[in-house]
Structures are given as C-alpha cells and as structure tokens.
Symmetry: C2
C-alpha cells in the first residue's frame, strides 16, 4: 500500500483527524489528503467526515489495502478479484525477480493442486501464493510447505474450528479437507532461487460449490462466515515468523499433525506403504512403521486408515 | 539434424554413393541431394566427389551435426560457437516447453558454477547443458547430478586419463578438477518440471587460460588433444542410459568415487563436518563418520584431507 495512505489509516485507526491536521502532520497538502482518503474509500474503507474530521468506520473485508493494513510482516499484497491461478502469477513475478510478494485472489478460474489436480476455487475463498527467496539448499524446501500448513492451522484457531494437518500438508476439519498447499520452486542443489507457496482455504465458500464427494468442507459450513482479512493476516504473520526459525517448524507441525499415531496407507511413486505413522523427520519425511521395518516416505498421497484389528 | 541430411550421412558413412543413386534411394531430386551435401560441407563435413560419387572423408570435430551424427540416444543438439551460458539458454528452452535438448558451446562468456561462482570456459572446452523432464519427485533430483558425474568419468575413460568423482559432482584427474556439474531445476514436491544438468569439461583447453591456482587441469594438459565429438557422444549416451535406470546410479557412482574412504572436511550451510566419508545414500547424501557419530550431509563443499595421524 502507498506509504502516505498507510500513515493516514494508522492515524484514523486511533482517533478521528481533520484534513488540515493530517496535512500538517504528514507534510502534504490538504488536497493530497483528500485524494488519499478518496482512494481509500475506493478500496472499500468507510471513512466518514463529521465535526471531528475524518472517522474510520470500517475496513473492507478483503483486498490488498485491507490485508496490508495492520499486517505485521513485510509482505506486499497483490490482489485480484479473479485470476486463473495465484501460483502461476507468483511464478511470473519470480521470473521478474520479485520477492516477499503475496498474490491474493477472491476467485481462481484455473486453480491447481498437487500433481496438476483441479482445485475448485469459488468466490469467498482465500486463494493466495507467497513468493519468497530463502537462502537455503533445495533439500530444505519441503519444510516451507510444512510451515505453511502450520501457519494455516494457527490462523484458523480464532475461527473456533478445530483443524489439524494430514501429512504432508492438507488441513482437515474432522476428516474433511478445508485447505491445501502447493509449493513450487526453482533452484540448484545448494540454493533455492525462489519458492512459491500456494495456500487455498475454503473460507466463506458455499459448500454446494465444492466437490463434496472428495471429502472437503468450508469454514462457512463448519462455523459460519469468517473474517478473511484476519485469517489472511494471521496466516502470513505466522508463516513469516516460522520462516525465520526453521528449526521450530517440525515441532510446531507435530503439535498440529493428525497423521502421527495413525495407521496410514501412503501411495508413493514407488508403490504403497502401509503401517503406523510414528514421526516426521527433517525436511518433511514421514516415518512409517511397517510389518517389515521402518520406512522413510518423502512424497506421496496419505490416507488415514482405521487401526488394524 | 535434418532427417534427409542424416540419411545421406549414414549412406556415405558405409560407402561412397552417386548423386543419382542417393536421389533415387531417398526419393528426392538430384538438386536436393546437392543442396544437402553443400549444407553438410558448410557444417564442416569433408565430402569429396570422385568417380564413385560422393565420399565422406571426415566428420567435423565438434558442432550440432557432428555430435548428432552417430549419437545413439534421442537428444537434439543446439550448438553455439559462443554463448553467455549454456545453462541459461537451456532454462530459456525449458520455459518454452522443450525437453531432451542439449545446448552445446565451444566458448562460454559468462559460465557459472555452483553458488554463482565463475566458471572459466575458453574455446576448446565441452560446455553443455542437458534439458530433461524426468517424471520424479524433486527429492530425487540430486541423483541426476550424480549420474552426470558418472557419465562424464565414463566418457573420459577412452582418453586414457584416470578420472574420479569428488562428492558430490566434481570430476578430478589426480587432485585437479577437470570437469564440473551444475544442476538447476524447477518443480513441486511431487514432481520435477524440468532439470537442466550443466556439464563443463576442460577438454582441448590451453591450461594457461584456466585459473590454475584453484587446482584445475585440462584433458589437453593431461593427455594431449582429445576427440570432443566422441567424448560428448559417449557422455550423452551414458547419461541417457543411467537416467533410464536410476537404481544403478549410486552403484556406478561408488565405483568412480575418490571421496569414499577419505578423510574429508565438508563446509555446509550449517557449519563444518570433519570425518571419514564412508558411503553415499540416495539421492546423494554423503555419510561421514565423525568423532561424535555418523552425519548425513546433503549439500556442501568437500575437501579431501590427509588421513589423521
């Protein structure tokens, strides 16, 4: 968000202020103040004018300015009402050399999940992709996917729904998927060039618009309409902070994981692994105790089974 | 290489043939035969005309047609006399959707090694980048770097130099580096989108043009001028075949590794690991027996030390 606009919002968030006062404090003209207030109104901020001056009455539910306002971590938001894919757009920005940008959209028309599977993304969801350039070897990349899952669960805590992580990165409520993550990257062995962490949350989404045969749900269906702005801010804040201390990610992941302790069937490119999921190992390897010994699973589709009789 | 041109070369490689015979056998006009022969001559093939017809007298030492002629694996060669970086060009082709293309150059003006280090690439070297799209998770990507190192050593065997691999992917003669590998990739956890495997061999390179203070050598310095075409073909063939049977790569790597059994110091992003290199583990993890136990090293700069007293 434009710097001056942010300063005006911060002022108005604490108390009303007159145009002349704002102009004086920010060192700009009264005409400029008026122009910025108009721009904020265009973005959906409701700013009344009364005897005390400008009064901030409400912040829009979603959008770039709304999410940036009050965001405590240095991500820049690029908002779209509708886009084909936030990950595709973030990859484009990666190619142009950007970083610490979040592409956010209300609707995706061609959303994709892992393995190019369709990801239905109706209006009302939180569809976002975070573009970062961590200075780590590509070997470490999977841990950022785990961090995104942890950040998502932490962001959902305030809505009252009890979410958990299914290895590696599905976020479930009960047994139904409420959010998913798709991480893409470019790099060489010694270092990641860029990572695009795509996170899709079925937030205020009419469950009738989701493919419920695949075991999905939405926050709206679980708990009623949620504050997308608050969830997005909390998610970005948690993700950014986890990124700064990668050693804590696995610990946090274990806290929220519903897979550990379960009997699982993991379908990997090399075949099926069936057994008890006992732990996770850096950077995201699932340890499965099978009948023939302990297996380390790096990638696959995981299914929770009922305990063996 | 153009299909008809390849057929003409194949014919002439076994015996001389007249223009009319070639025209008849290939179902093209005599004028077309003449045009293709001229194009081949332009590429450096020496084709004489005598009473028996066209006679293939020699194949050029290097170039796209030269390397494709007799190449037994399905890579297409894009040749440059001079290019900034074959890896950069291969990434460009990756972006355009290509695969199984080899970018080959006589000179690189801005060659790069791991961690963006300069890679001096004078005329006479073999500077190439292979663009492939293997259907594997990104976790497996490092094994293709090992395969490239194995393929390079196998390709050098015929020159008579005794080359070995220093973990993870330097090719040494004695203690000096004769070839290096830089693998770049894009993908998501479950699958590689593309891999660019860059291989640089100091082949017919005047050692005076190399930074000898860094412990490098060239094939020319070790054994005299080498056949770059034969080395490139052998390398591509070996790499392609290893790619088809990834399970054999580690076994082949162990055969050629000079690091195993040595005392090493590995500088990793997390600090130094000093100990005895005892084995390699999929997809390229070095196992080092240190004073405090066994460490698994995924990435770093490895230095061979003298055995501890």
């Amino acid at each position: 968000m434009q710097k001056t606009r942010e300063q005006i919002l911060e002022r108005l968030a604490s108390e009303p202020a007159t145009g002349p006062n704002l102009a004086n404090d920010l060192g700009i003209s009264r005409a400029a103040v008026w122009k910025h207030v108009e721009a904020l109104r265009d973005s959906g901020f409701v700013i009344a004018s009364d005897d005390d001056g400008y009064v901030l009455e409400s912040v829009p539910e979603f959008g770039a300015d709304a999410v940036e306002f009050g965001l405590d971590v240095p991500f820049e938001i690029e908002y779209h009402e509708r886009i084909e894919s936030t990950n595709a757009r973030a990859r484009e920005l990666a190619g142009a050399g950007d970083e610490n940008v979040v592409v956010l959209s209300d609707t995706q028309t061609g959303g994709r999940g892992r393995l190019d599977r369709e990801w239905v993304s109706p209006s009302g969801g939180i569809w976002l992709s975070v573009l970062i350039r961590p200075t780590v070897p590509t070997f470490d990349a999977p841990v950022f996917t785990l961090a995104a899952a942890v950040a998502t669960v932490q962001a959902l805590e305030e809505t009252g729904v009890d979410a958990g992580i299914k290895w590696p990165n599905d976020v479930l409520v009960g047994n139904r998927k409420v959010a998913g993550i798709l991480t893409e990257m470019e790099g060489e062995a010694d270092r990641v060039s860029w990572l695009v962490v795509g996170i899709g949350i079925n937030a205020n989404v009419d469950i009738g618009k989701l493919p419920t045969d695949r075991g999905v749900t939405s926050l709206e269906a679980e708990t009623g309409p949620v504050d997308r702005r608050a969830i997005t801010q909390r998610l970005l804040s948690a993700f950014y902070q986890l990124q700064q201390r990668p050693d804590d990610i696995l610990t946090a992941w274990r806290t929220h994981a519903v897979t550990l302790g379960q009997r699982v069937r993991v379908t990997t490119p090399d075949g099926e692994v069936v057994g008890n999921a006992v732990d996770i190992e850096y950077p995201g390897v699932l340890l499965v105790e099978t009948e023939t010994g302990r297996e380390r699973v790096t990638v696959g589709d995981c299914e929770h089974l009922r305990p063996a009789a």
